[in-house]
Symmetry: C2
Subunit: 128 residues, 2 copies
DNA sequence: TGACATATTGCGAATTATTCGCAATAATGT
DNA sequence: ACATTATTGCGAATAATTCGCAATATGTCA
């Protein structure tokens, strides 16, 4: 939850928005959500804070190839991945044991693994 | 290799470029590569063809969160994943057994898995 | 081989996501 | 309350990707 140095209104609103929406959300979705609550935070500020939250490890960046980034709070639910429905864009959390996977990569290529993202693409029940 | 209905100059050039560069490349990189060969294909046409190649399963879209998409030919090398160096942007192919992973996801959530992308982030030898 | 039908290209403009510069403002320590 | 300065709002700037449309190239068939 360490974002910047000051606990501002914008940060409270952004954090609360992501928490309440409870799924990987885009900057624009955060903006819209806040507005629904008759409050407002400039889009540029939302981007700046998401950047900070990412650097301070408060959020994960999730990519589905939509041409934009999505963000999700890191705490609460542990490490997990997602199912993205190519039909409707619905997103589902999935958990799985993956120690083997990770170990297979450690040290290979001489890389130091900082993190990894695993995304699955398919069709949800409604879209099949 | 089935892209569109006609085997055009643009398609030959784009395909060859991706093949020769032999790594996940962006639309702009394809454009630049073709230009080096004293030939040219409009960027819009490159985007249109990458879209087609993706739909016809000739290329994979690979995302590293750089704010743009990368494409890689599907044939030749089998299914594999990548290591992306956050320091220099270097990309390495990696292979691994993952039958377990996939099986864990099949049927869960009632989703039909179409494909998945697994990306690792870290630092390559030069950047550590 | 040459003309036709139309898939595809080039080009410029439009979109969308994200970033920047900077002056105004709000958060924190004294 | 005051000063310091991190942060915001705003408008403009970028960067990636998409569109509309007239010009062109490709595959087909007479
Ligand atoms: Mn999630
Ligand atoms: Mn590869
Ligand atoms: Zn769906
Ligand atoms: Zn590197």
């Amino acid at each position: 939850m360490k974002i910047g140095k000051r606990y501002t209104q914008a940060r409270k609103r952004i954090f609360t928005a992501i928490e309440k929406m409870d799924k990987p959300v885009s900057a624009q979705e955060i903006y819209d959500y806040i507005k629904q609550n008759y409050e407002e935070v400039d889009l540029a500020s939302i981007y700046r804070n998401l950047e900070l939250m990412n650097k301070s490890d408060a959020v994960n960046v999730i990519l589905f190839g939509e041409g934009k980034k999505r963000y999700e709070l890191k705490n609460k639910k542990g490490h997990h991945h997602h199912l993205f429905c190519e039909g409707c864009g619905d997103i589902k959390d999935i958990k799985m044991k993956e120690e083997n996977l990770i170990n297979n990569v450690k040290d290979s290529q001489g890389f130091v693994i900082k993190k990894h993202n695993l995304e699955f693409f398919g069709l949800c029940p409604n879209c099949q």
